[in-house]
């Protein structure tokens, strides 16, 4: 009987020796990885409603959205509608009373589609971005001359003010323009899934359909068209909400030292 027990112990001892054969890892690798949220982020531009509130000549709204494709790349776009009235005055003639030249209103919508590329490497658990991006933008709009005056440096017949023109309430419709946009911006997570962002943009006008009698002077989404230049500048301040659809850990490159 004793012999029987001894043989069992020996048998078990064989097992324990086998368990011990695996060496103890004294430098365990950190296996906790932060899974970054992926999803659709949508929001509105804050500057346009604010300008609409403070400036009676302007109303505008812009909806911004992006969808995260990879670690750094986002599909991004904006949709907006703007209406702005301009009063142009003669600025290079020094007169006691101002000389109005013409007054016009531009009204229309635009869409911008493209990508954002995040260049910022977040610390653990953060979801901020400093990004560069590109867009292709398209706008349809109309321009209305509200009233006009006839510029004439000779003041013989009209000594006080320029003569009235006859183009009041003339609408030039069906205008369109497209442009390429380059932008630089940031997005910071304020609270969980709520982001505050800002961007500055340069637009390069690609196409511009205008009326022969009255050229396009301002394009919704593009801003002012400068004489003899295809560039426009813009900006936005956005607040947006991320709808997290899934989470994915950032791919960690295997350390080179592990390859032997």
């Amino acid at each position: 009987m004793l012999r029987y027990f001894t043989s069992i112990l020996l048998f078990l001892g064989l097992f324990t020796a086998q368990a011990q054969s695996k060496s103890i890892d004294l430098q365990p690798k950190d296996t906790i990885s932060y899974k970054q949220p992926y999803g659709l982020r949508a929001g509105i531009d804050l500057s346009r409603p604010a300008l609409s509130f403070f400036n009676s000549d302007y109303t505008g709204l812009e909806i911004v959205a992006d969808y995260r494709l990879t670690q750094s790349l986002y599909l991004a776009g904006e949709i907006g509608n703007e209406k702005k009235t301009f009063q142009e005055e003669l600025s290079n003639v020094v007169t006691a009373n101002t000389s109005p030249l013409y007054n016009f209103t531009v009204s229309g919508s635009y869409i911008k589609l493209g990508v954002d590329y995040n260049t910022y490497e977040n610390w653990y658990g953060m979801n901020n971005s400093i990004f560069i991006g590109g867009r292709y933008a398209f706008s349809t709009f109309n321009q209305t001359i509200n009233d006009n005056f006839i510029y004439n440096s000779n003041r013989y017949w009209n000594p006080d003010q320029f003569a009235n023109g006859t183009l009041s309430n003339i609408e030039y419709g069906g205008l369109s323009a497209s442009w390429l946009e380059f932008l630089v911006g940031i997005k910071a997570e304020l609270f969980a899934n709520i982001y505050l962002g800002a961007s500055v943009r340069i637009g390069f006008l690609v196409s511009n359909t205008e009326d022969d009698n009255f050229p396009n002077l301002w394009i919704p989404g593009f801003n002012k068209i400068t004489d003899g230049s295809n560039f426009g500048v813009g900006y936005n301040y956005s607040i947006s909400y991320l709808v997290p659809l899934y989470r994915k850990a950032k791919k960690i490159k295997p350390p080179a030292t592990s390859v032997k």
């Binding site: 142009e88 003669l90 600025s91 290079n92 003639v93 030249l101 013409y102 260049t119 910022y120 490497e121 400093i130 990004f131 560069i132 006009n148 005056f149 006839i150 510029y151 004439n152 440096s153 000779n154 013989y156 017949w157 009209n158 003569a163 009235n164 023109g165 006859t166 183009l167 380059f182 630089v184 500055v200 943009r201 340069i202 009698n213 009255f214 050229p215 002077l217 002012k224 400068t226 004489d227 003899g228 560039f231 500048v233 490159k253 350390p255 080179a256 030292t257």
Partner: protein, 184 residues
């Protein structure tokens, strides 16, 4: 050495990102600075043209002939036209047309002298009938008027010094050449 080769590409990746965005920022700031002062603010692109009248010899229709002590008064204004020296001898004048009207009348006075209400010169009254087009020039200038002269009417009196009128260029869109010839 192997450890170095692992860290290097990661560092370079973020560096290139920062460099790209900072170039973009500098570019944007530069563009904003340029766009703040632009030629769009100053009207240099055009003007409403004046009607250019040249005076020719009635006996020799190719020879210019000066009008002695010329004064031109726009009817409805009463003041002498200010585009040339009043009561000077000249063979070429530029007169402004009324923009909102279909015609403008001028008193063209030869040998003008005396007080405004006691003119002693020979007054001839000439009327131009025209069509006005409003043309957009540029953002800074806005609209100017261009004219298309249709007819001219010389009021007949007992001693007209103007013997003939010829509209040589009915499209008044620039001041590069004469629009009307007056023979005397």
């Amino acid at each position: 050495m192997r450890r170095m080769s692992f860290k290097f590409p990661r560092l370079r990746l973020s560096m290139s990102g920062i460099r790209l965005s900072s170039i973009g920022l500098i570019f944007l700031i530069g563009l904003l600075a340029i766009s703040s002062c632009e030629k769009d603010d100053i009207c240099v692109d055009g003007d409403t043209p004046l009607l250019i009248i040249r005076f020719y010899n009635a006996a020799d229709s190719t020879a210019l002939k000066s009008v002695a002590s010329l004064r031109i008064i726009g009817i409805g204004n009463g003041e002498p036209v200010d585009t040339f020296t009043d009561r000077s001898s000249t063979d070429s004048v530029a007169v402004p047309l009324r923009i909102n009207e279909i015609s403008t009348q001028f008193q063209i006075i030869l040998n003008s002298d005396g007080d405004d209400d006691a003119e002693t010169g020979n007054i001839d009254t000439l009327q131009f009938n025209y069509e006005t087009n409003e043309v957009f020039i540029s953002r800074a200038c806005g609209f100017v008027a261009n004219y298309e002269i249709e007819t001219d009417t010389l009021t007949v009196d007992t001693d007209n010094w103007i013997q003939g009128i010829e509209i040589t260029n009915p499209s008044v869109t620039s001041q590069d050449s004469a629009h009307v010839k007056i023979f005397h």
